[in-house]
């Protein structure tokens, strides 16, 4: 499912990029354009938004249900710290999984751009990848990694917080889940701007 979405994103990027670059007679730069857009911006942001929708909402709902069914109270009453069992593993998972998923997103997206640019629109394979190697710097890749790690922190933090401080009953869980997804998405976009301006 995720791969299908990602490959479509890469293909659209390839298509739009080709027609735009064609106006300036620079279609040879399609490879770097697709790669840089994905590595620096679309990869981290779109994968973070996808993870928010799939994993963030699940985190909030799961912790929220544990809260309303008194499972968190039960952990506390055993003299244990619920954060250790519920929040820390999800936080670590977010930090580890986000850069990995972003890397997959980037690779699959670049492949989508390749399908459209090379196979459909006739740019040379060597041009697509060769120019990419010339223009993409290691700093661009680390920038993408920084972004994805910080998005991982953000998604886990917001989702766990909203689940932990859920309201009452099923309605409370549904509200918390919606709020977690909306707040995470808004914060991802805002934080993306802050990081982009700070890292350039």
């Amino acid at each position: 499912m995720k791969c299908k979405n990602v490959i479509s994103a890469g293909m659209v990027l390839g298509l739009q990029g080709f027609y735009t670059l064609n106006r300036f007679g620079s279609t040879a730069l399609l490879g770097p354009m697709v790669a840089l857009s994905l590595i620096k911006e679309l990869g981290p942001v779109l994968s973070a938004l996808m993870v928010t929708g799939r994993a963030g909402s699940a985190m909030t709902a799961e912790i929220g249900i544990m809260r309303i069914t008194e499972q968190i109270d039960a952990i506390e009453l055993m003299g244990l710290n619920p954060f250790r069992y519920l929040v820390v593993p999800r936080f670590l998972a977010g930090i580890l999984a986000m850069p990995l998923l972003t890397a997959i997103f980037d690779v699959v997206g670049i492949f989508g751009g390749y399908l459209v640019g090379v196979k459909l629109l006739g740019i040379g394979e060597g041009t697509y990848f060769g120019e990419m190697a010339n223009y993409v710097r290691i700093q661009d890749i680390t920038e993408g990694i920084y972004k994805s790690v910080s998005f991982g922190v953000l998604i886990s933090w917001v989702s766990c917080y909203k689940g932990y401080h859920v309201g009452f009953g099923a309605e409370g869980v549904s509200k918390a889940t919606t709020q977690a997804v909306v707040l995470s998405s808004v914060l991802i976009l805002f934080w993306d701007y802050v990081l982009t301006s700070a890292l350039f």
Binding site: E70, Q71, A74, L77, M78, G79
Partner: protein, 256 residues
Amino acid sequence: MIEMENLYKSFEDLEVLKGVSLQVKRGEILGLIGGSGHGKTVILKHVAGLMRPDRGHVYIDGKDVYGLRGGELQELRSRLGFLFQSGALFSSLTVFDNVAFPLREKTRLGEEEIREKVITALEQVGLRGAEDKYPAQISGGMIKRTALARSVVRNPEIMLFDEPTTGLDPVIAHTILDLVKSIHKDLGFTGIIVSHELLRVFQTVQKVAMLHDGVILFVGTPEEIMASRDPVVQQFITEALPLRNFRQEEQLGRKE
């Protein structure tokens, strides 16, 4: 051992506790009775430190529960067993793992010893054979019995039971209260039982307190509450004890 001093608690505009003061001595079980929605569970949650009162204090062994921080509070809670009304089992763990959880996390016992203790606890509540089932696969009564096994498996000094028999058939309910009685005999824990099963609870506890409209209306032995002349206490006892109700009606019938 447990001392509640002038507890007040409101939820938005609803004042639930209006100055509750109660004492439970070491080794004693107190039966907390009263109508639904009068705040019995709220009192238990205050004792466990899960809720903070608007005013008032709860002391356990002379220590103010709300004055304890971090490690101290965890230490106190390690000595406490709480049976939730809903059971509060971990839905992602099997019956066995639910009961083993506090042993694995709070003791240094080996897996073999844990297994023995868990199996014994499950046998006591009649759940041998259901070890590998998940909470979603068992009935409400089995959930409650698993929760009981989990709350007593570490032999706590203080036990708080929130309606341990609600939703169970009379035979199981009887077994559960018998079990509470026998564990109390073996371990001598200090406890509070919130329940509507007055007849059986009166046979289990040493002291009864009745909560009505946010205050403690009566504290005394089961015999004393049965003999109480307070009209509210009288009415509650009569309504809650069908046998006594039946006998009274029978006597009235004879007189007529």
